[in-house]
């Protein structure tokens, strides 16, 4: 939770600066790709968003588990907020990947393992947010949404395995635990990932603050019967 308190105080200018540095590395420092030319530069935000959404859903999983184990309602709040941020970056991953796919494979979509698993992930966590939003403070419904979040996490290791081991149209930039990229591209990728993670932390911090304020307002209204 210290990380959350820190992220809530993170100035927006720091995040914007980090993203600008990422853009510099993605567009200026990294060389063009031998076969895809300049269009491959979509990769830097696409892969960074994909990794970020997996981290966000891991936070949802752990937080939901802790909530189900009775460790406190604040874990459910964190899960809800992380789920929203995770869904945002999953959406960005799917949309940017679709555009990249159109440019390289000449199709907007194909039902290959990694893309299919990621689309399923999107629906699973969109479902979680729908169930959680409908809970309206009802403990039984909040527990139901937490169970849904925990069960939905099974798709995350499937996606990790699909990246590492399954062959499809998707570029094999990562095989096992090796990254098959020019060193400058690898550096640019990790810098962009750091910038996108910082952005995700910033958004999560702000979202959690908003949720806590909403809870306080609801409690005041309940107490004073407004």
């Amino acid at each position: 939770m210290t990380l959350l308190r820190w992220s809530a105080r993170l100035p927006g200018a720091v995040v914007y600066g980090a993203l600008l540095v990422g853009l510099f590395f993605a567009f200026i420092y990294a060389p063009p790709e031998a076969y895809m030319g300049q269009v491959y530069r979509i990769m830097y935000f696409h892969i960074s968003s994909a990794w970020t959404c997996l981290v966000a859903f891991t936070v949802v999983f752990v937080s939901s588990l802790l909530y189900l184990l009775g460790k406190g309602d604040h874990w459910d709040l964190l899960a809800h907020c992380a789920g929203e941020v995770g869904l945002l970056f999953t959406t960005i991953t799917l949309l940017s990947g679709s555009i990249w796919g159109r440019a390289v494979w000449l199709v907007w979509w194909t039902w290959e393992p990694l893309l299919t698993a990621t689309l399923i992930l999107w629906f699973l966590y969109a479902g979680y947010l729908l169930i959680r939003s409908a809970a309206q403070g009802d403990p039984a419904r909040m527990r139901l949404s937490a169970v849904w979040a925990v069960l939905s996490y099974v798709d995350v290791p499937i996606i990790v395995l699909a990246v590492a081991m399954m062959r499809g149209l998707h570029p094999q930039t990562i095989e096992g635990f090796n990254i098959n990229l020019d060193p400058r591209m690898t550096l640019s990728l990790f810098i962009n990932y750091a910038a996108v993670m910082l952005l995700a932390l910033y958004l999560l911090g702000r979202r959690v603050q908003l949720a806590k304020t909403a809870e306080t307002v609801a409690a005041l209204k309940e107490r004073f019967r407004f």
Binding site: R41, I42, T91, L95, R102, L199, L210
Partner: protein, 48 residues
């Protein structure tokens, strides 16, 4: 290059929409807090 531009335009638009949505919710809450303060007979708080 058009696809590269389109991809980053979609990315930044999605981020912009989410951040704008967050700000909108924050402002609605701030108005709610002010309304509660007034209803409870307190001095209005500082502008958020």
């Amino acid at each position: 290059m058009a696809y590269l531009f389109a991809a980053y335009a979609v990315i930044w638009t999605a981020l912009f929409l989410y951040i704008t949505g967050l700000r909108g919710r924050q402002e609605r809450l701030a108005r709610e807090v002010e309304r509660l303060r007034e209803a409870m007979g307190q001095e209005p708080g500082p502008e958020s």
